[in-house]
């Protein structure tokens, strides 16, 4: 890799131009959210119009007649709840697959991954009928459990690769020193694997926060999540572009923060999981 820049400089410029064009539509959404409704509706779009928080104020406030807080809280409940459940279930399994020799562990891993091929929409109908039968429709706990189940394969896969980084020798010497399983986990495994576990948790959070299909079918007025709310908001308020852009920006924000926090570890986990 000597002097790679010299070779790539013209391509670098092209890539940067493409990169700017790439984020432009998203940037435009953020900008429009900060414009007043008349400015947001002009053609051509008024780039230099004065900025205002009116769109956000109307989104959160009285302007629309519906409060965005219940769906935001529902999304937070489902996402955080399912993430905690995923960690509780996936850490021991990943630990078993990574550190303890389980015979045919590759088969177990392949089983987890092959379920990714099951189309989620096909399983949705039986779940819907079950929820209808048991009165669990429009209940956020059901959604949290379902997201847990959906996230388990990728979580186990990623965390196995993070936990596999814990040096075996350290574990063995801990065992020789008489450390029990729990002590070993807490003192030896956790510190090494913590950043990877945090990244996995953020990935689960992102997926659950963004999920639309199941949330749309299984929730209603009470347990509706943010994406479901947004699709309804677009239908009812679609003409007020600034307000809808504000809504879309607010709903994207938690995930953007979580995502950029996890980016590096995510790449590392994927590389270990995918390439090895």
């Amino acid at each position: 890799m000597r002097n790679p820049r010299r070779v790539w400089r013209p391509w670098g410029a092209v890539a940067w131009l493409a990169g700017v064009l790439f984020v432009l539509p998203a940037a435009w959404m953020v900008l429009t959210a900060l414009h007043s409704e008349p400015d947001a509706a002009t053609n051509p779009p008024s780039v230099a119009a004065p900025l205002t928080l009116q769109g956000y104020a109307e989104f959160f406030g009285a302007g629309t007649g519906v409060s965005p807080w219940p769906p935001l809280i529902n999304s937070a409940t489902a996402s955080v709840g399912s993430t905690v459940l995923v960690l509780l279930l996936a850490i021991p399994a990943a630990y078993a697959l990574a550190i303890k020799p389980v015979r045919k562990w590759t088969d177990v891993l392949f089983f987890f991954l092959s379920t990714k091929m099951l189309p989620m929409v096909a399983g949705l109908l039986p779940v819907y009928l079950f929820a209808q039968y048991t009165g669990l429709l429009d209940n956020i706990s059901l959604l949290a459990v379902l997201y847990t189940s959906m996230n388990l394969p990728i979580a186990v896969w990623l965390m196995r690769s993070f936990l596999a980084e814990v040096p075996k020798e350290i574990m063995e010497s801990a065992a020789l020193d008489g450390a029990g399983l729990l002590t070993t986990l807490r003192r030896v495994v956790a510190p090494v694997a913590a950043p990877g576990i945090a990244a996995t948790a953020l990935i689960c959070f992102i997926f659950s926060w963004n999920e639309l299909l199941f949330a749309r079918v299984l929730t209603g007025v009470v347990a509706g999540t943010a994406p479901v709310f947004l699709t309804g908001f677009v239908t009812s308020q679609g003409l007020f572009l600034a307000k809808v852009c504000a809504a879309a920006t607010v709903i994207s924000l938690p995930v953007l923060v979580a995502g950029f926090a996890a980016q590096d570890k995510l790449v590392q986990g994927l590389s270990l999981g995918a390439v090895k």
């Binding site: 984020v23 539509p25 189309p119 992102i206 953007l256 979580a258 995510l266 790449v267």
Partner: protein
């Protein structure tokens, strides 16, 4: 890998060892399975059971969801002779092929650029990673606005350049192209990251050797990078294929499946059959089973082709 079996075979000869020690060994051999069990239970209840049950439902006919009449394979027969289903299947095939090919090529190019250390790499990587994080519902909205015929960002720019104002979301062919592009936009960063990780696993000394032998940049990419990257590319192709077959949420807010059903893909078709009047639970489930078999078959095919190429 061998400690478990060692506990069973090797220690038989150490008969005088205390019973306590032996029990500890057995518990150590069982513990890993206990750790995996809760996963399997949750997974079995909320992923495997619904999948099996949807196969079961596909053999019944039910209008209202209360009474189920056994109809055997009638749903499959009906669906396979339904022109609407074949239209959806054709759209899905076009989308999946277009999406997988474009995203794999684009992600490889992007990963090569990122690996070559473009100036301001962190920011650059973040720019391409941004759409991965944006909620698909919002992704659909952003592009629905940007591609709006009169006031949209894209046509405003095209108009300023005197290139007219195509009805991106109104013309069926353009709408399919746009749907593939938006799918590319939201997934590109993710697959590029995976490929980048694969690139960084290639031994740099190979490039030095090739350079000494007088190989140009393109030649090095073609003869070293791409062949060594093949296992990672295979992973990307497999993941993209599965994602392509399951595309739904961003299309829902981008085109809503229109115009005139031109971008209605299989997941939306199943959704409509199952949850919108006239409700056809059996038919929807049959379509789900067909989708699963297709994805499974295509994935196996991907692996088979990928592996054979590796062997050559």
């Amino acid at each position: 890998m061998t400690a478990g079996s060692g506990g069973r075979t090797g220690h038989g000869e150490l008969a005088p060892t205390t019973r306590r020690r032996r029990r500890r060994l057995t518990s150590r051999a069982v513990a890993p399975y206990l750790f995996i069990l809760p996963n399997m239970v949750v997974f079995g209840l909320f992923t495997i059971w619904p999948a099996l049950n949807s196969f079961n439902i596909s053999l019944y006919d039910s209008g209202n969801g209360r009474r189920f009449n056994w109809v055997g394979t009638d749903n499959y027969r009906e669906i396979l002779s339904d022109p609407e289903f074949w239209g959806v299947a054709r759209h899905t095939a076009v989308f999946v092929v277009g999406f997988v090919v474009l995203v794999t090529v684009a992600a490889t190019a992007l990963a090569l650029l990122l690996n070559a250390q473009v100036r301001g790499r962190g920011l650059f990587r973040a720019a391409y990673f941004l759409p991965v994080l944006i909620s698909p519902v919002v992704v659909g909205l952003i592009w629905n606005w940007a591609l709006e015929r009169q006031n949209g960002l894209v046509n405003t720019v095209l108009g300023a350049m005197g290139l007219g104002a195509p009805g991106w979301l109104l013309n069926p062919n353009l709408a399919m192209g746009v749907t593939i592009f938006v799918g590319l936009w939201t997934h590109l960063g993710f697959y590029a990251m995976i490929l980048l990780a694969g690139l960084q696993g290639i031994d740099p000394s190979l490039y030095d050797a090739a350079r000494i032998d007088g190989a140009g940049a393109w030649q090095r990419v073609r003869t070293i990078t791409l062949p060594l990257l093949r296992p990672t590319t295979l992973v990307v192709v497999v993941l993209a294929t599965i994602a392509g077959f399951q595309a739904f949420d961003f299309i829902y807010t981008l085109t809503g499946g229109g115009p005139v059903g031109a971008t209605t893909l299989i997941v939306q078709y199943i959704y409509l059959k199952a949850f919108e009047s006239p409700i056809r639970y059996g038919l929807a489930s049959a379509a789900g089973v067909i989708l699963f078999l297709t994805v499974f078959g295509v994935t196996l095919l991907n692996y088979a082709i990928g592996r054979r190429r590796e062997a050559i």
